[in-house]
Subunit: 151 residues, 3 copies
């Protein structure tokens, strides 16, 4: 079993998979931060023992919170498929340099995507980083299918 973790492509995959998953997980606390600073909660038990009037004021939707949540959702929709396909891709035994190129492009594109989303940078910055990440995953999926096709 330890053999997998001695393979350089697999180690590179493990490293970049951990990085993008940590990035994804950090969107949770970031949402919490925006909820507290913007005073916009979803659950009655989250606003504490306040009067009914104060509660109603805090149980609202705030555009900044919704923006972080959409960014989190986009991460879920793109990072998880990357990790799954990337694992299978690493097992097909690609060249180390090609694999590193895929992993680095993906990690870079997703970090930039988050900056562009939270910072509301003008388009097409966010759109292009989203497309780049998706192309990386498609490229890896193509190699998985052309190596392991068994229908």
């Amino acid at each position: 079993m330890e053999k997998l973790m001695e393979n350089e492509v697999f180690m590179a995959f493990a490293t970049y998979a951990a990085i993008v998953i940590i990035k994804l997980l950090l969107m949770g606390p970031l949402t919490g931060y925006y909820r507290v600073t913007r005073g916009a909660f979803s659950n009655e038990e989250d606003v504490g023992r306040k009067s009914e009037e104060e509660k109603k004021k805090l149980l609202k939707i705030h555009p900044d919170v919704e923006r972080v949540r959409r960014c989190h959702q986009n991460d879920l929709e793109n990072i998880i498929p990357f990790v799954v396909i990337g694992l299978l891709y690493a097992l097909t035994g690609p060249e180390l340099s090609t694999a590193l190129l895929h992993f680095r492009l993906f990690a870079g594109s997703r970090i930039f995507h988050t900056v562009a989303y939270i910072g509301a940078l003008p388009q097409p910055s966010r759109g292009l980083s989203w497309i780049l990440g998706m192309l990386v995953t498609f490229s890896m999926a193509y190699r998985v299918l052309s190596t392991a096709l068994f229908l």
Copy 2:
């Protein structure tokens, strides 16, 4: 490491996992298509340099976009668990024919689910395909637990 990719059950898993993940990823561009054709966006920076009035008109919710998004969400909730459990299932060394039956039923049920959801086919078509996909995952999870149980 390459041994895994010489195992027929694992190759079959890799093939069907790649297919359903590609299907899941394509929901992203499909949402984009509906957003553009229905003129319904979530982010101010996505509607370009327009007058305030035009912007407000484009920053709306459209039922067709919401339908694609629910379908995408349902894919996330069902396809990712299938892929995770399917990987562990493939490692338990099931019969090739049994494994293929599981993978094919799942892939077929999820493709039909998307057609039924986007096309708003009358129920119970969508409901049944959703249940079928879930039963396949439960069946694989049962084998994983009965083979590898270690609490």
Copy 3:
């Protein structure tokens, strides 16, 4: 390949991964249960052949359904990263007792999180179980990065 499933750490991982994924999948039928009992649906085809007036009444948002959906979403955001990082973590060859501690804490914290969310228990019960689960995943990610770092 079967060697993986003879390794006790990997078997423990497979067991707890299957448990938390089954827990995640069960949120789907639970949402369905709340939709039916609360009479709150999202899709016109789900409410059957009723008069237009009855349909409109059933196509609504109910706070109980939204609560289950938020809980389901939180599971997706936390359980899937745990499973992905946990797989890589199991491959780094940790001590069995340390690995079991991680897996048990995570599974326990997420089951408690669901009880706290659906039951609307007073905070900080839900918040603490969410943080505990996240800390477990971060701890495993730290070991993955310190064992396999290859940038």
